[in-house]
Subunit: 430 residues, 2 copies
């Protein structure tokens, strides 16, 4: 590798502009640690005039990122936009084909095209690094790829989305509804102001689960349809009831080997308030890895925001500057396995079920009979009347039952006039 | 690097023999991940006939490890003995001089001779890796050297010794005395059967603090005398009182920049039961890193035992097999700083003071007057009489005061006949 390294930054949103500033102020430190001088030779964004937190050098600005490749010699490209397809994929593709190393926090891109782009990087002898795509500042991918490389990993799970974790924590702390807290999160920059859907519905966490699976199990990025539920249906009422039961609701992403089949899921979980994961609040992320022989490892840190993301992007940069050429997924893409999917119908959990019912005789027995018919046994039942409105809330904690069983059992309640709305179901962890 | 790599393992204690077995069973996995075939060509220990958990190949056994260098061609040497000087240092030195990569979990060696050996490795173009020396299976050194490489780290602290953490947790859980629990820990293999002193008096944790400081602050291994206190004086009584105050006692290692001076310490701390660190129990280790821009990162995992240690040793092996030649301390030893030490006299904490006194009038006022004279103000005071023995226990939680102040203030109590034993002092965190 040469001693002067040319860098391009494509995408000057919150992350891109912060990164640009960090590259500038950490130049000397990077030279001390790697012996390489870095030089930003191109930046690209849609709008040159947009108001930004730090100044940009307009002389090296490109409106069309693809033009960078014709006009400048670039060694390393940061892609900091965040869409899985279109020109953003094209930029990464073109860079790799031109033997340019690529560093990206783009989980949508990697969780969709990771195998293809990884292979492209390997074929061209360059790096494709994406530490920032999962759990922001936590060096979790490196921990799996390197620190725990020879372990047999059995399970990786945790809180992978800071937005939803903030919302759930804040609903509990402030006693405010989902929609009120969502507005607050948007004001604070913790949730997308325009369309927060991809955080709320579990999609963002699920993309991270897919990347974690690939690394933990040396598997191709899976394409299987899986269980993905977000937090949109969680009501303040559920949070309060959980609280009484000494439980807390967390949106967990889980990737696990079950009978050597791959099980990937994202859904809200009820966890003990006394557990480690139950105490990870606010925008924090936490990932728990169960491996042999290492045992249980936990990594926790700030999961999002330009600071933590830049920390991860720069760690990837240092790796490349030190001349460490690595397979993007730890082993060569051609050696990645294709694990079969675990049948989601067999996924077994204790359930929290909340029914809003008319307060009249026989309703409770309708519910319990139905559960009994499906062999779902009840561990705990709390009925709270709302005399004024002639309603009642029935919360049932069940013993373990399979996903298939619970779906079949609950389906029938939709047509019961005494049950005022679709029951809320939250799975208990473990 | 060649395609077949010769390996020597020096030291076949608990860790060495476990490692040897792992090298054997993970051969194929290692080849898949690195493209290199590994071959164990030499093992060494004091006694060839000792009963071991796994068989050794007696044909490649060396009683004197230094003979390995004359008789075999070795590429990578594992040193798994654990003393800082003598033949163990000589083995590492000779290996590096012969351009053999060295991997070691030996914190005593690195925390004493790290600079010298690191320079030797750099001069000979080989790696000296010691991930296993701090916090066992947690890839903490790699996280600092690589994952968080461009962060400005301000503080690293945590639970760095599993033995003492087990003892403190178990005293609380079982209501047994220090000496009873120590015996249990020895039986379970959590404490050295012969001489557990280096764990109990804080020395082991302190060696790890020194290594963490060097990496976090790009500093030479410091030689300054520092505050090092172990857990030998902690009584069950203190644990019970802490419990009543919603606190818990933890042995913490702390490395911090204060006014750009280096502050390193190991001592028992009272921490909130609700805090993260207060809930790390048993033999677990946990390290908290405060950095900019990453914020707070936490890494937790099993800190000791052959499984976690082997996990770290093998991660170092993979790094070397991938051809990643790195400076042992992240930056070249010649670029490491020599930070001045922070004056320990200025270290400021709230204190927990426990006095065992004669139950007679005037004793309490003697104590409080003395504290007042040194401007140590009292936040909380609990006096518990022991009428039968005509004694009393006085526990005082003070507001913040400096180390110097507290030493001077407490010194005088030694000559007070009403105070039956040297007061117990435990600092509160934060």
């Amino acid at each position: 590798m040469k001693n002067i390294i040319n860098i391009a930054v494509v995408g000057l949103g919150q992350v891109g502009i912060y990164l640009l500033n960090e590259l500038n102020i950490k130049k000397k430190d990077i030279e001390l640690k790697t012996g390489k001088k870095i030089n930003v030779v191109a930046v690209s964004a849609r709008n040159i005039f947009k108001k930004r937190r730090f100044k940009i050098n307009k002389k090296i600005f490109f409106k069309n990122p693809l033009e960078i490749f014709n006009k400048t010699k670039v060694d390393i490209l940061f892609e900091a936009i965040g869409m899985s397809d279109g020109i953003f994929k094209k930029v990464v593709e073109t860079a790799l084909k031109n033997k340019i190393h690529v560093i990206t926090p783009n989980k949508a891109l990697i969780s969709k095209h990771g195998d293809y782009l990884g292979k492209l990087a390997e074929d061209n002898g360059v790096n494709l690094e994406f530490e920032a795509s999962v759990a922001g500042g936590i060096p979790i991918l490196r921990a799996i790829k390197e620190g725990l490389a020879t372990n047999k990993i059995l399970k990786v799970y945790g809180i992978l989305n800071g937005t939803t974790n903030y919302i759930l924590s804040e609903m509990e702390n402030s006693n405010q509804s989902f929609s009120e807290v969502l507005k607050k999160a948007q004001k604070l920059g913790y949730a997308e102001p325009g369309n927060p859907k991809l955080d709320l519905n579990g999609f963002d966490a699920f993309a991270k689960v897919r990347i974690l699976s690939a690394l933990a199990f040396n598997n191709k990025i899976s394409k299987h349809k899986c269980l993905m539920e977000g937090i949109e249906k969680i009501e303040l009422k559920d949070i309060k009831i959980a609280n009484q039961l000494d439980l807390r609701i967390k949106l967990l992403g889980i990737s696990e080997l079950k009978n050597n089949q791959l099980f990937e899921t994202v859904h809200p979980c009820l966890v003990s308030k006394k557990s480690y994961i139950g105490n990870v609040g606010g925008v924090m992320n936490a990932v728990i890895i169960e491996g042999k022989p290492v045992g249980e490892s936990i990594l926790q840190g700030e999961g999002a925001g330009p600071g933590p993301t830049s920390s991860a992007l720069l760690s990837d940069l240092l790796l490349i500057l030190k001349g460490n050429i690595n397979n993007p997924f730890g082993v060569s893409v051609s050696n990645l396995k294709s694990l079969k999917p675990y049948n989601i119908n067999n996924y077994t959990n204790s359930l929290y079920l909340r029914f809003e019912v008319k307060d009249k005789p026989g309703v409770l027995s309708q519910i319990t009979n139905r559960l009994a018919k499906y062999d779902i046994s009840i561990k705990r039942l709390i009925q709270t009347p709302d005399k004024k409105n002639n309603k009642a809330t029935i919360v049932i904690i069940t013993h373990k039952t399979s996903e298939l069983n619970s779906i079949n059992c609950l389906a029938i309640f939709k047509n019961n006039k005494n049950i005022l709305k679709t029951p809320t179901l939250i799975r208990l962890l473990g």
